[in-house]
């Protein structure tokens, strides 16, 4: 099971972050470009103590202008309301027809805490534990209205089948949520949860709740070690480790595309910089690096962050991705329509439903068992 050579298709994602850009047009253009390359998803980072628009809003704005690509905004869990966060992510899934993801992150700084004035900065380990609880309660709230709960029957005046609504009665270390959610169960059941597990303190939460994990590392050995740790940990939480997608997250600078990679790059791998692992070189050598790390089973794919947003995304799609497609290593069209389908992840069964949905994988995401139902269906 730990042998992973060629086990699943290659997954590719790109960041569409742009410094101090607030108009919709340039984001739409970037995401469309990534979609032309058939990428699994784009990410847009977010945080409160820095300039930038609300990431989930931006990707909602982009959703109607795109058709297949997954949309993964960062939404933090430290100063936000879990109930509102899950509702917004579920709604992104509705407006994108099943393409939403959510990159879970924490706000560790005192500066962010002062913007809210409710609590002081807390240790990162505690924040990641809380983030795990938010991820957990979000899945419960997504399940709190069963898929066919929204019955509209004018004759009887019934709009909801009350046996298909469930309180979640969640009591976490810093918050409680009663439920149910206001938003009907999202098209994907559970939008895809993404965690950057480079920081060891995020790793338990990633192993337990994430569908996709980013790891920023420069070497094959580092990545392989973190991936093995994540898979073991996921197993310990009762999850099938094959439901976890581990992506190497790299900054890519393809500015000098005519030349070969700098020494120490290309097939040799990226190098550590203040911005994280950086690959600098040509699109072709990047394709070599991706091929090498993917085919030897080091990672399931890559999350690539353009150093120069417009230029490098274009070179990535038209150079690197085109080459990978030509070699038959990456999809040339989207066979599925949801982000879960791109990632090869089944739509999770509802933890509150009495009869699991046929063909769905029970416990694929949360590892929850139906016995955990409180106030559930009789």
């Amino acid at each position: 099971m730990t042998s992973s050579h060629g086990r699943g298709p290659l997954h590719l994602a790109a960041a569409v972050d742009q410094r101090a850009v607030y108009d919709a047009g340039s984001y739409t253009e970037s995401v469309r470009l990534a979609e032309r390359g058939g990428l699994d998803f784009v990410t847009l980072d977010d945080g409160f103590a820095r300039p930038g628009p609300d990431a989930l809003a931006v990707l909602s704005r982009v959703a109607p202008a795109t058709r297949r690509i997954g949309l993964v905004p960062t939404v933090t869990t430290t100063h936000t309301e879990p109930f509102h966060v899950q509702a917004a992510v579920a709604t992104l899934d509705w407006v994108s027809r099943g393409r939403a993801g959510w990159r879970i992150d924490v706000s560790a700084g005192e500066g962010e805490a002062r913007l809210f004035g409710r609590r002081h900065a807390a240790p990162v380990a505690a924040l990641w534990q809380e983030a795990g609880e938010v991820a957990d309660v979000a899945a419960k709230l997504w399940d709190s209205r069963e898929d066919d709960a929204g019955v509209r029957d004018v004759a009887t005046g019934r709009f909801v089948d009350r046996d298909k609504l469930h309180q979640v009665d969640f009591h976490g270390s810093t918050f409680s949520v009663r439920g149910p959610s206001i938003v009907p169960r999202p098209p994907q059941g559970h939008p895809v949860r993404v965690v950057d597990a480079t920081d060891g303190q995020a790793r338990r939460t990633a192993a337990r709740y994430a569908d996709v994990v980013f790891v920023r590392a420069v070497s094959h050995a580092q990545l392989a070690a973190v991936r093995a740790e994540l898979r073991d940990s996921a197993s310990a939480f009762g999850r099938d480790p094959d439901h976890l997608r581990v992506l190497a997250s790299l900054v890519v600078d393809l500015g000098d595309g005519e030349h070969a990679a700098e020494p120490g790059h290309g097939g040799g791998g990226p190098r550590q910089t203040a911005r994280g692992p950086l690959y600098r070189g040509g699109p072709v050598d990047l394709a070599e690096l991706i091929t090498s790390w993917y085919t030897d089973g080091t990672v399931d794919g890559f999350h690539l962050r353009p150093a120069e947003p417009r230029r490098d995304l274009e070179r990535l799609v038209n150079g690197t991705v085109a080459l990978l497609q030509h070699r038959g290593l990456f999809r040339t069209f989207y066979p599925g329509s949801t982000l879960r389908e791109h990632l090869g992840l089944a739509r999770p069964a509802n933890q509150y439903a009495v009869t699991p949905v046929t063909g769905a994988v029970t416990g694929a995401v949360t590892g929850s068992v139906t016995g955990a139902v409180t106030g559930g269906a009789s």
Binding site: R50, L56, A90
Partner: protein, 437 residues
């Protein structure tokens, strides 16, 4: 064509979830040159009402989170204002100011915020803050919330320079730098719904639009005059606040047909089951075992029962129950018939010509600045209004024939953001501060 006072129009879509249905309705509203599209989504109005710990199923099919839907609608519309109903009780100023400013940027200046407050204890159980605020605390917190949000919106200069902010008040103590530059409208449009004394004062102090309950002409004129009169205290002119009653419209080719359609809609809205639920909420007890086609209960209503606790009360429930009993007795009505009768008729019923004339009259005689069309069960209701009534209003010179500007402020004829302290007289500034205490 004489120059008339022109009305403003807005629409609330049906409660749905599929994005395509929102898209279609928003496009219809834009085709009709409406000022804005208002999404409700407050926890309160859609919460599964509970009865003895069970979740009741009255019109709670669930709905999406409004700001997220409006951002998506910004991609498929060009001029229509996009208004989100968001609770000021269970949110925080920094995050909400940021989300609304982002919507304003992404829509090119079309964002609006309908400020509501929650009084429902069961909603508080979903949030970090928890609990609930009673009536005396809710408006002061909401007022400070809106003032704080405006401080954040003003923290960037129009030239794009960020200035640090610090707000220390009774409810919020925050400081730092706001992450979003000044948005196209400066401040997104602020809408306030409410007819209460506190609601009117709140609207006069800070809102751009106030949503009221529809009344008959004379009562509407009195309400209009009362709200406009309050503006002076805050250094604002009558044009700074638009008064828009929520209305339902039923059209027919003849007056008789319109009346018949209206009656049919009321019958559909009050199913036997809903009749028992609504009655149970007045009586304060579970009446689900009663026959909806039978007489009203003999038992007396229970004031302040667990069923009504912490909810927005519909006045004194005991008095309402007495009124309903009298109505039932006088006309010999069953439970369901009584609820249908008591729940009121639609605001405007008639031919397109009659409705256009009547709503124009409301505006010309200063009972309203415009209307928010509230949906009912008729499918295609908005299309019908846009196709049949809007052209008649335009012919009368009572409604725009094209969008002149790009922003919602421009559609509404509002000047720059209201209530920036440097623009206000000292008296007005004092009045507002006093109000926030």
């Amino acid at each position: 064509m004489t120059v008339r006072k022109r009305m403003h129009l807005a629409a609330i879509p049906h409660s749905r979830i599929e994005f395509s249905s929102f898209e279609q309705l928003a496009r219809t509203a834009e085709r009709g040159l409406f000022d804005f599209f208002l999404l409700t989504g407050r926890a309160e109005g859609l919460w599964p009402l509970e009865n003895k710990g069970r979740i009741d199923d009255v019109d709670v099919a669930g709905r999406p989170e409004p700001i997220t839907v409006l951002n998506a609608l910004a991609a498929v519309t060009e001029r229509l204002g996009l208004a989100a109903t968001v609770d000021a009780t269970f949110n925080e100023p920094y995050e909400l100011a940021r989300r609304l400013a982002t919507l304003d940027h992404l829509s090119g200046g079309r964002a609006a915020w309908n400020v509501v407050t929650s009084s429902d204890a069961s909603i508080g159980e979903n949030f970090r803050r928890g609990g609930y605020l009673d009536g005396t605390e809710r408006y002061p917190r909401a007022a400070e919330f809106v003032a704080t949000v405006r401080e954040l919106w003003d923290s960037w200069t129009p030239e794009g320079v960020s200035r640090p902010f610090a707000h220390r008040g009774r409810h919020f103590d925050i400081a730092g730098e706001f992450g979003v530059p000044r948005s196209p409208q400066g401040h997104p449009v602020v809408i306030q719904a409410g007819d209460s004394e506190a609601g009117r004062e709140f609207a006069a102090s800070t809102a751009d639009v106030v949503l009221t309950r529809q009344k008959r002409l004379e009562a509407g004129r009195a309400c209009y005059a009362d709200v406009k009169r309050r503006l002076r205290k805050y250094g604002r002119s009558p044009d700074d606040l638009k008064i828009m009653p929520g209305v339902t419209v039923v059209l027919g080719d003849t007056a008789a047909e319109a009346r018949e359609r209206a009656a049919e809609i009321r019958r559909q809205q009050v199913s036997p089951q809903n009749a028992l639920l609504m009655l149970g909420r007045i009586w304060g007890v579970d009446l689900s075992s009663y026959d909806p086609d039978g007489p009203l209960p003999e038992i007396d209503p229970v004031p302040d029962s667990s069923i009504t606790q912490g909810r927005t009360r519909r006045g004194d429930t005991v008095a309402i129950a007495e009124k309903w009993r009298a109505l039932s007795k006088e006309k010999g009505l069953s439970i369901r018939q009584t609820v249908i009768e008591a729940s009121g008729r639609q605001s405007f019923i008639g031919t397109p010509e009659a409705v256009a004339a009547e709503i124009d009259d409301f505006v010309q005689r200063d009972a309203a600045d415009g209307f928010v069309l509230v949906p009912h069960l008729t499918p295609g209701g908005l299309d019908e209004f846009v196709d049949r009534v809007v052209p008649l209003l335009q012919e009368r010179g009572a409604f725009r024939t094209e969008y002149r500007g790009a922003t919602l402020r421009s559609h509404l004829g509002l000047s720059g953001p209201p209530g920036r302290d440097e623009d206000m007289t000292a008296d007005a500034s004092d009045a507002r501060e006093q109000y926030q205490q």
